[in-house]
Symmetry: C2
Subunit: 272 residues, 2 copies
């Protein structure tokens, strides 16, 4: 099997500078979904501040010179505050290090990127941002669907199940309409809340809902359910990895006929 070899021209525009911070998305977990630019940053960085959901396989690609700091909010416990992360970024950058801030998925989506950019701005620290593959893209590929489809939906919404104030409020009336497609991040704990709000606004309980756990990873699991059954099926599935919930999308019907598609569709059957 041919192996990819990065040509010398690749990542040509990624040359980390001393005292600079690169904010990069690591993608959803599969190291093969890293961009060439993020890989270059991993290999060049002297300090890497990483989140809890960045997979170990990705951290193994760091250069030998790199010092790795886990600033994952759950990994270290609740005491790793956003302020602490900002302070660490600034301290390392001002010490002249090449700093990589590695966030899972795409740093620009639900990544609290702004707070860290503002801290850099305030301290006069230079930075650049490298986009990554967001979980929704990997998850939808895993169920053989696309996020938009001619004649079905010409828009898609990405939203979060909870925010700093608790469960996040959204335009439930619009989301409850037939044909709406949404990717809900961090939607496990808020599943019953989201279901309640949508049904209250007239959503059809038979609306397709799919939950993809560990999208793109070797332990990816797929739960095919409906809005009406979501909380019960989710409780039974006992997902403990990061999960992406699709409202208005079911896995492609042909999936079970295509055994080499990287998706597990037997979960619902196990549960049923």
């Amino acid at each position: 099997m041919p192996q990819p070899t990065a040509a010398p021209t690749l990542a040509g525009r990624m040359c980390m500078q001393s005292g600079q911070v690169v904010f990069a998305g690591s993608g959803p977990g599969d190291p093969d979904l890293l961009t060439l630019k993020a890989l270059a940053a991993l290999q060049q960085a002297e300090v890497i501040l990483f989140d809890r959901l960045v997979s170990p396989e990705i951290l193994e690609l760091a250069g030998p010179q790199a010092i790795l700091e886990n600033v994952g909010k759950e990994g270290f416990g609740a005491q790793v505050s956003q302020q602490h992360i900002c302070n660490r970024l600034i301290t390392h950058a001002q010490a002249g290090k090449r700093v990589l801030r590695l966030k899972s998925g795409d740093a620009t989506l639900f990544g609290r990127l702004d707070e860290e950019l503002s801290a850099c701005d305030a301290a006069g620290v230079r930075y650049q941002i490298v986009p990554g593959i967001t979980a929704a893209s990997a998850a939808v590929a895993g169920i053989g669907q696309s996020l938009t489809q001619r004649g079905r939906n010409s828009s898609v919404r990405y939203l979060t199940g909870h925010d700093t104030q608790g469960f996040a409020d959204h335009d439930w009336q619009a989301l409850a309409r037939p044909g709406e497609v949404a990717a809900i991040y961090m939607g496990k704990k808020s599943a019953r809340f989201v279901q309640g709000r949508l049904l209250m606004h007239g959503a059809n309980p038979a609306t397709a809902v799919t939950v993809v756990e560990n999208a793109s990873r070797t332990n990816q699991r797929v739960l095919e359910t409906t809005l009406g059954q979501l909380p019960a099926d989710l409780a039974e599935a006992r997902f403990d990895g990061p999960a992406l919930t699709f409202l208005g999308l079911a896995p492609r019907a042909s999936l079970t006929a295509l055994p080499d598609l990287p998706v597990q569709t037997d979960l619902k059957m196990e549960l049923a």
Copy 2:
């Protein structure tokens, strides 16, 4: 400067099979934003069917055995129908080729992926889907912003400016609300239509709007404007590359103070 070298374990799960189609997103244009998996597919494919917006720098990474077919809708003229693309995919796959269907951006967003997947299903052709970096992610990184922000917006909408029926209709009332953030694909021609609909539904003409042309490419340009000024400023800018329009986002204020950020902010000044 260290060069990235793809470790032997990388793209380990990408091994294209004879008679299989890999649908992959090429990202927004910068070859360094390819995923390792897409690069592996480029190197392994025997036939590559590519869209008009896939950049030449990316096509240069194809293996020497690859036959490249341009199926771009504008590249070949209007006669390259979706049906023709589907036929070519099936013909090559049934001839036992390793086929790569390369779409710009992320194949699962506004990529008409479903029609091609259905054609494969109908013909019994096996496939897999490799997600890519979508233009919105690269564009927002280019203006130093993020698509969501705590306390500002906990959801973001991706929509298209026009569909097969002409200008696409959307939930303008919801989009017109203060604080809404949306990424509008293919929004150049529909700028006046979108502006009209939003203003009709009460949007503030001072709402920030940013248009990023050729996101991530060396010829990236940024137009900072407002909803009220959008059509006039866009006409004056004469963008001829692919453009992504952000509703509710302005470039980060500090950008001009950070000359190494890959963004051009002098365009508006040129225009003013």
